[in-house]
């Protein structure tokens, strides 16, 4: 009798365990920093993914980017971090070098998604040390926002400037410091704006291959042109953070700002009469900044084959045409795919096609280096400030920066 009860109990137990194993959901924790207006769109798309199937559940933890970056690396190192995270691709080298990310070459090699349709730059900048670590989550470019009322009041044509000479002409007419500035350009704590002006002349800071450009002749020439406009003609206040530059344009105290698609809602709500146009071309041709937040997989989650599979399915969902259309329409960002530009709803959107159109010549900032943050805060921004505050002249500041940069990336 006892034996039979025992066998019956054992069978029931196995049955229970069996069913729970089969119906166990793979839960993936996902940290990101989309706290702004795009949060609602992101949450609805993730909810859609969770509801569309019962094997995988994505649990998001959204916090401001600076808190995220403070906590993410330490928590991944001690193994208590999220399974998936999303952050700007320039951070990938630091995390990959620390050994906390799992390479995702098999995602690209497999047939989860038609990966050849993804924006090439967004994919390339998720590569470190020859391996893919990131899958694009978003892609943004910077355009020149301009205040149409200011143009009219200054007697300027409706057409925005197309090259640096016209740009200079417009800025001088629009500037009446300190009541109104022609340009609101940020120096620190911002999406990079100054580098676009350097690239416009064929200069730069550091290429992906490690070539130091910060002290090249082209960079110095570009810097002198723009420093003169800012310091002597006061076309922009000096020392702005990204948020301050946004505020200046939003409050109508600046006529032009070079920034990304995320500001369109805020500017529209402020009642500004504005439009966007490609950044005026410098001598080296058209260029702008591209930036991509990439999805990364933690090493721990990567080693669990169920979680890995689940993550790849989510990546494929996120980058599918249907999801990308919804994302683009809801957030104003161009899609991560290159094959959606003719989509009827996208074409009708006031901003998305314009931001997507400049993707072919969008350059990324300080990619592929683990020392990205230090280069920005200890070399580039201080050099820029030293020049603009008149502490050092362009040649000295950039030469010194060049020496420091070579030392750092050796």
């Amino acid at each position: 009798m006892r034996k039979r009860v025992f066998i019956a109990l054992a069978l029931v137990l196995i049955l229970i365990m069996g069913t729970t194993c089969v119906s166990a959901k793979t839960v993936l924790t996902f940290w990101n920093g989309y706290t702004g207006p795009d949060r609602a769109v992101l949450e609805s798309l993730v909810a859609e993914f969770n509801e569309s199937q019962s094997e995988i559940e994505i649990v998001m933890d959204i916090q401001p980017w600076d808190s995220l970056f403070q906590k993410l690396l330490p928590s991944l190192v001690i193994g208590s971090g999220p399974d998936i995270a999303a952050f700007a691709s320039e951070n990938i080298p630091q995390y990959a070098a620390a050994g906390v990310l799992s390479p995702v070459d098999d995602f690209y090699a497999g047939d989860y998604l038609d990966v050849d349709k993804l924006v090439p730059a967004a994919v390339e900048n998720g590569i470190f040390d020859g391996k893919h670590y990131g899958v694009p989550m978003d892609f943004a470019t910077l355009l020149m926002y301009y205040n149409k009322d200011h143009f009219a009041a200054a007697g300027l044509p409706e057409e925005p400037p197309k090259n640096w000479d016209e740009f200079k002409e417009y800025l001088l007419k629009l500037t009446n410091a300190p009541e109104q500035y022609g340009l609101a350009i940020a120096v620190k704590e911002t999406i990079p704006m100054w580098p676009i002006l350097l690239w416009g002349n064929g200069g730069g800071i550091l290429t992906r291959d490690g070539e130091v450009l910060i002290d090249s002749a082209e960079t110095k020439e570009a810097m002198k042109f723009w420093a003169d406009l800012v310091m002597n003609h006061k076309v922009s206040p000096i020392g702005l953070t990204g948020a301050e530059a946004d505020k200046l344009f939003q409050s109508g105290k600046a006529s032009i700002e070079i920034v990304g698609p995320w500001m369109t809602n805020g500017f529209t709500e402020a009642g500004l009469n504005y439009d966007v146009a490609p950044v005026p071309e410098g001598p080296a041709g058209p260029v702008t900044l591209g930036t991509s937040v990439n999805l990364v997989l933690s090493k721990q989650a990567g080693e669990d084959s169920q979680k890995r599979e689940a993550a790849f399915k989510f990546y494929a969902f996120w980058n599918s045409p249907e999801t990308q259309v919804k994302w683009a329409l809801g957030s104003g960002f161009p899609p991560t795919r290159t094959d959606l530009l003719d989509h009827p709803e996208i074409v009708e959107h006031p901003w998305v096609p314009k931001f997507a159109a400049v993707a072919p010549y969008a350059q990324f900032y300080l990619q592929g280096t683990e020392k990205f943050r230090e280069i920005e805060t200890s070399i580039f921004v201080p050099a820029l400030e030293a020049i603009l505050y008149g502490v050092q002249d362009v040649d000295t500041a950039l030469d010194e920066a060049g020496v420091k940069l070579r030392q750092l990336v050796k």
Binding site: Q70, L73, P74, V77, A98, G99, P178, K188, E189, P237, I238, G239, L240, E244, K247, L248, S251, K253, R373, E374, T377, V381, P382, E385, A386, Y389, V391
Partner: protein
């Protein structure tokens, strides 16, 4: 069991001390000890198998110009906040020490900044200082005073941070001075006025000497907290522009949480600990010379 009464009392005493001691041990002594150990290694958050480095971090510290810049900025900040702040809070304490009806309202108002979050105060003051949309800049323009922009100007950024700190902490020092003032016995003032002292004399010859211990306390506490300033600097300027407001703790933060070189950050922290310790001992010797 023959436990004597005195050793039983001792046991009870230790029992009551235990919670405090445990908290101190875990949250103060252990981290200090750990930081001391870390400063002799190359432990970083990422490199979990550190090597023993002996004095390498310390020699790097001595040669680090950005560290000395941080020390200079911290001294500038302390020299700005402590004397001015102490004098202002003493004056305000004397002012609110009068027996006027409703004077408590003023005491409360002056104390409010102390209990408000430093980060929030810093954010609001950042707006006030903004040269384009800030109230302060707006009113100062009428007085003919235009600057490049307080927090964006390398020369005015630190004075702006000092101003905010003085404003914030004044209430705390005021309360301490108030307690000190109220403990001065009336008979001393009476004796002084009998001897023909006017209010300046009674302040200089009665109030100040009697306030000696309070003054010592306020100056030492202000100095210790000034050396550790971080919140305002981080929120208002992040150490800029051009590193002109980078204080020692801001620098520790940079190495601890931006470059993740925890061992070097610990080195700077230990250096700060030693400096504050030495200065405090010196101050106590100098100011407490006669009292004791």
């Amino acid at each position: 069991m023959n436990i004597s009464i005195s050793s039983r009392k001792k046991a009870v005493a230790y029992l009551f001390l235990a919670p405090s001691l445990i908290v101190f041990g875990v949250f103060v002594f252990y981290p200090i000890g750990f930081a001391l150990w870390a400063s002799f290694t190359d432990w970083s958050l990422i490199n979990q198998s550190p090597n023993f480095l002996q004095w390498a971090n310390y020699s790097r510290l001595l040669a680090d110009s950005r560290f000395w810049n941080a020390v200079k900025n911290t001294l500038y900040y302390t020299l700005g906040v402590v004397p001015v702040g102490t004098v202002i809070s003493l004056c305000v304490a004397i002012a609110v020490n009068q027996r006027i009806r409703g004077i408590e309202i003023f005491r409360t108002i002056y104390f409010l900044p102390v209990i408000t979050s430093t980060a929030i105060i810093a954010i609001v003051w950042t707006f006030l200082f903004d040269p384009d949309i800030g109230l302060l800049a707006y009113y100062l323009k009428f007085l003919g005073f235009t600057t490049q922009g307080w927090l964006r100007d390398p020369n005015y950024a630190m004075p702006a941070v000092i101003l905010v700190s003085i404003w914030k902490n004044m209430g705390f020092n005021m309360v301490i001075f108030l307690a000190g003032l109220q403990s001065i016995s009336e008979s001393l003032y009476e004796a002084a006025s009998i001897d023909g002292a006017n209010s300046w004399h009674s302040f200089w010859y009665v109030t100040l000497p009697q306030l000696r211990p309070t003054l010592t306390f306020v100056i030492v506490m202000s100095m210790i907290s000034s050396f550790q300033v971080f919140d305002q600097v981080y929120v208002m300027t992040r150490g800029g522009p051009l590193f002109r407001t980078e204080t020692v703790v801001q620098y520790i933060y940079h190495h601890g949480f931006e470059t993740f070189q925890m061992s070097y950050a610990s080195t700077v922290a230990i250096a700060l600990l030693l400096v504050v310790l030495i200065l405090t001992i010196l101050q106590l010797r100098v100011l407490d010379r006669d009292i004791n």
